[in-house]
Every structure is written in structure tokens, then in C-alpha cells.
Symmetry: C2
Subunit: 192 residues, 2 copies
């Protein structure tokens, strides 16, 4: 009988690169098609072989789960950065919402009905608290009306995360989204 020793070796550099590419590709495709993309499409977009995808993520749930965690982490980070920044509470809320377009937060809302919410209670709570903080500050400052809720903000981030047209250049798509979001926020925020 042999001893089984589990050592947490660090990932090899190429493995880390592949994993990152796969997460990015999956997130982009989820947002583009508004649902679960095919495995082949994800691997192709990521520029890796289909075998590599299956080594990193043996089944759909593992992949979707990893994408959500990744997106939430990046979004929560962006929120805290906005909260800690030197700007006004209104500007912080604006900065956060623009960041959600870049972090792809909408992907979470598209995919999460397929999963169990209790799989990531910590991030869910962290995201909730962060957003609540942003809104409370903005209300207190008078930047937004008291009838503006966290749900309003969350639904708006989903709306502006998704592409408007198919086959559009990503840069142009992003520019449109930021521009439209700015107009929306002009309507939401009180003018000085």
C-alpha cells in the first residue's frame, strides 16, 4: 500500500493562460448570444483546443460556476474602488455602473437561473452590500431620488451590458453602451 500525497502545485504558466482565455471567451459569448454558448464556440473564441476546455472544466456547471465567480470578483472589486475613490457619491455610482459594462456583470444575470444561488453566498452578499452602500451614499448626498432602488440599478446594469446588434465591432458596441448609460444616468441623477 502506498501513501497518497496531495500537493497543491502552482499551475503551469500555459495552463493559467488557457484558463484565463476560456473564462473571457465564455463570458463574452454568454453576453453576445444571451444564453449558454456551445463548447466548440468557447474553445474557438479562446483560441485553444476543445480538449483543453474539457481538461479545465469537465462539465457545464464547472465552467458556468467559474465564469460567475470571476465576474462577481471583478465587479465587487470595481465597486469597492468606486466607493473608496475621492469623488462624490453620485460619481461613485456612475463609475461603478460604467465598470459593470466592462466586467460583463450581465453574464451573471443571464446564466444564474441555470445554477443554484446558494453556491456563492459570500459573493452574493458582498455584491449586495457594496451596491447598497453606493446607493445609500448617493441618496444621502441627494444625487438620486429616494425611490431609486438597488433593483433599478441592477436591472439597468443588465440592460446596458448586452450588445445591441449582432456582428458589431466590440469596441463600437462598448462605446454605444457607455454613451447610452451616460444618458440614462443623466436622467436618473439630479442636476446640480
Amino acid at each position: 500500500m502506498e501513501d497518497v500525497v496531495l500537493v497543491d502545485r502552482p499551475m503551469r504558466a500555459d495552463a493559467r493562460r488557457s484558463r484565463r482565455r476560456l473564462l473571457d471567451a465564455a463570458r463574452e459569448l454568454i453576453l453576445e448570444i444571451g444564453g449558454e454558448p456551445t463548447r466548440d464556440a468557447i474553445a474557438h473564441r479562446a483560441g485553444v483546443g476543445i480538449g483543453t476546455l474539457y481538461r479545465h472544466f469537465p462539465d457545464r456547471m464547472t465552467l458556468l460556476h467559474a465564469v460567475i465567480l470571476d465576474v462577481l470578483d471583478r465587479t465587487i472589486d470595481a465597486g469597492h474602488t468606486a466607493l473608496a475613490g475621492p469623488s462624490t457619491a453620485g460619481e461613485a455610482l456612475r463609475t461603478y455602473m460604467h465598470a459593470t459594462i466592462d466586467t460583463g456583470l450581465g453574464a451573471v444575470n443571464i446564466v444564474h437561473p441555470l445554477l443554484d444561488t446558494t453556491d456563492w453566498p459570500d459573493r452574493h452578499a458582498a455584491a449586495h452590500d457594496m451596491l447598497d452602500g453606493l446607493i445609500k451614499n448617493a441618496r444621502h448626498e441627494g444625487a438620486v431620488d429616494n425611490n431609486v432602488t438597488a433593483t433599478d440599478i441592477a436591472l439597468a446594469t443588465i440592460r446596458f451590458c448586452r450588445p445591441v446588434a449582432i456582428g458589431l465591432d466590440p469596441a463600437e458596441e462598448s462605446a454605444i453602451a457607455h454613451r447610452q448609460l451616460d444618458t440614462y444616468l443623466d436622467g436618473l441623477m439630479k442636476r446640480p
Copy 2:
């Protein structure tokens, strides 16, 4: 040899009902998934058999074409009603954009890359002229800035036509869209 006589009989009542249901179902699904839905899904949503779908629309192009014509007609009607109404130019533009959510104009923008634009030059021109009229009036009145273009309006109508979440009650979905559009328009329109 027999004479072939083509008489345009009126459609039977059940046929007219089925056609209407199929067009509505196709439009809804196009908006929901942001692309071309499957035949089975359309027939199921419409509550008719798959055979009925194929009798009305023998191939994909016939169906997509019919959906687009239907949406455009309803939208152009809504635009003209708004133009002819007793309100200000700014209110007319607002009324028109809210109407596009209900007519499902976004479906045209999602599907039309698959078709030849020259297939419906008349409606295309009519829609274009109508939208131009709305914007020119609003600009002239000072309701919107001069840098607001027809493209801005068109892109916004696509954005607000699409559902934000999957599996949401259609009535609630519509309420969210109208509410968000109002905020967007508050940002777009100059305050008095």
C-alpha cells in the same frame, strides 16, 4: 386542358387566427433570444401544430419577411399617430419610442442582417422619413440637442425592446422597459 382560375378567396377565420399567433410568437422569440428561433419553438409558443407553421410560411425567409413587414407597419402607424397628435414635438418623440417597445421594433434590427434590405424599400423609406420628422421637430423645438441623431434613437429602441431577464412575466418586463426608457429620455430631453 383545363382552365386555371385564381380567385383571391378571403382567409378562413381559423387560418387568420393562426397566422396572427405565429407572427406574434416569432416576434417575441426573436426578441427573447436575440436571433432566429427554431420552428418548433415558434409553433409551440403560438399554440399551433408544426404543420400549420409550414403551411403558412413554407421557408424561413417567408416567415422572417412577414414578421418584419408586420412590425414595420405597426411601428410606422404608431409614429404617424404620434406625429399627428396634439402634443409637443418632444412628447411626440417620447410617445413614439414607448410605442416601439410594444410593437417590438427591435426584432427588425435583430433579423434584418439575415435579409436583403431592398426587399422592403417602401417601408424602410417610410420608417426613415417618419423618424427623421420626429427628430427634426424635436430639435427645432429645442427638446433635444442637435447632436442627437436618428442612429441614437434607433439604437435606443433596440436596447429597450429586449427583455432583461429570462422567464420574467411579460407584463413586468414591459413595465421595466417603459420605466427605464422614461429615465433615458429624461436624460436625453432638455429640462424646461
